[in-house]
Amino acid sequence: MLNSAADRPANETAQQPVLRAESVSFAYGGERVLSDVSMAVQPGEFAALVGPNGSGKSTLLRVCLGLIEPDAGRVQLFGQSPRSLRDRWRVGYVPQRLRIAPDLPATVGEVVGTGRLAKQGWWRRARAVDRDAVEHALESVALTRARGRRIGELSGGEQQRVLIAKALAAEPELLVLDEPIAGVDVESQALFRDSLVHLVREHGAAVLLVSHELRAVADDLDHLVVLKRQVVFDGTPDDLAATGVSLGVHQDDLPLWLEELEA
């Protein structure tokens, strides 16, 4: 196992991580999906979690978000257990795409507005500050002019950006995205990358991207975790390159490597 997280500068690890999983194990029925998994995401860090299909990425994500309880180990968001975290707006979550019913009678603005509920309070009406945040979120994914359109009329890539704007509307300090780029057109991938980089660099938020397509963001990543039921790599893209595997330059490097892991 390669693990170079310990080699990183002290000032990075001294801060409290926004997300920390410690020795997490989880099994569905008798099948063990996660085995003693530990990882952390630091404030302001652009991190990615990669692994072959069935490597437990989505399960780890659901554990980290408090949607399911681990069998062993523990998870902390901002130093608290996910279920006891009070300020839920600090965590934004973008689920896998195609979760929106194609005939949903709702506008882009309405969908993004639900993302703001975490911060405005789910029982409260939207105030000016909430409407501004929704507007800004739409701006950062370049969908301002689509606000009044029915969401089903948008392309798959545009819908994905709507879901990102929905998560951004609460101005989160940690944005978690589950396989957001799969099958999205190139233009949307570029806009997607821009909005994530904007979030990290301008707003100082941390991003955890779960994906096996990292080409679009290869140059922007600070931290990479490779999972195959357990952590098989944890470090920077440069550390990974030092092992002979690159993320983006040779586009097939990482997928090939993941396949080898599968074998």
Partner: protein, 296 residues
């Protein structure tokens, strides 16, 4: 509380009679509130839950006939209990849940029929099975108004969060919306709607009044808010037009109301088809570039 007869106002024909005015009030309240709950139920993909809870409400009505108490509250008790069981099964997931639903629904209606037969006569179930809005008493109408107010207040307070939950339950949960509690609330509100509507259209047609106006409205509305308002308008107009038709042609009022709602759905389908054919981009792939304002 026997007020409301005579009415403080005079309405033109066909609402000149007191019983028609009581029916009008009850019809408008149910016509407005059933689609209000229906919009969330349809979006959640459980359109027929109102039908199932209606079946269970029959058990409550049978019990009321047997013990000679108010059917409203016994039906409410049975429907709310069934709503809680169903929501619990749904949250657990799995196909056994589907079979358990059938057990709850048909067990409910069978129990109702058996209890009613023990009370001496099965015919007393009839007004609740098919609705009997024209024989509603002032007390019945007050009950419907009270239940309608509960539904409107609940939706006004929790509508935004309910929308977030039906849109994406996991995302809502992560962002701190109490999805579990809201699912239970929606199930209970559905049960309340069923009880409010059972005297108007009957338990066999309640689901129609929750679903048809929403199905029509979402074909033409752009936003969820528009869908809600359109569905309420369709529900209210169906109640009014259905009552008029019932008076003019001496029809069963509950069935007439639902048929008007069905007619609205047909008209909305035609309207949506015409609009699709007429719009330049149609429903085909939108061209992406036109939306993009560029990252800032």
């Amino acid at each position: 509380m026997n007020a409301l007869p005579g009415m403080p106002w005079a309405l033109p024909w066909p609402f000149d009679r007191s019983y028609m005015q009581l029916a009008l009030i009850a019809g408008v309240v149910v016509g407005a509130t059933a689609p209000l709950i229906g919009a969330f139920v349809v979006q959640k993909g459980v359109s027929l839950i109102g039908d199932g809870l209606g079946h269970v409400a029959v058990a409550g009505i049978g019990a009321a006939l047997l013990f000679d108490t108010s059917p409203t509250w016994t039906a409410m008790a049975f429907a709310v209990a069934a709503a809680l069981v169903i929501e619990w099964l749904r949250a657990r997931g799995g196909t056994t849940g589907d079979l358990a639903l059938a057990l709850v629904f048909y067990g409910g209606i069978a129990l109702g029929v058996v209890l009613a037969s023990r009370s001496g006569t099965n015919t007393n179930l009839q007004p609740y099975l098919f609705g009997s809005i024209l024989t509603a008493t002032a007390n019945d109408v007050w009950t419907v108004i009270a239940l309608g107010v509960v539904i409107v207040i609940a939706v006004a307070l929790t509508g935004r969060a309910l929308f977030a939950v039906v849109l994406d339950e996991d995302a809502a949960r992560v962002s701190g919306v109490p999805a579990g509690a809201l699912n239970v609330l929606l199930a209970v509100l559905t049960a309340i709607t069923v009880v409010a509507a059972m005297r108007i259209v009957g338990v066999l047609l309640i689901a129609a009044l929750m679903v048809l106006p929403v199905a029509a409205s979402r074909l033409v509305a752009r936003s969820f808010r528009g869908t809600l308002l359109g569905a309420v308008a369709i529900g209210v107009s169906s109640a009014v037009l259905g009552l008029i038709a019932a008076r003019v042609w001496a029809l069963a009022a509950g069935g007439a109301i639902v048929l008007v709602a069905a007619l609205w759905f047909v008209l909305a389908s035609i309207g949506a088809a015409v609009r699709r054919a007429g719009s330049p981009s149609g429903s085909a792939a939108p061209h992406h570039g036109s939306l993009v304002t560029g990252p800032h």
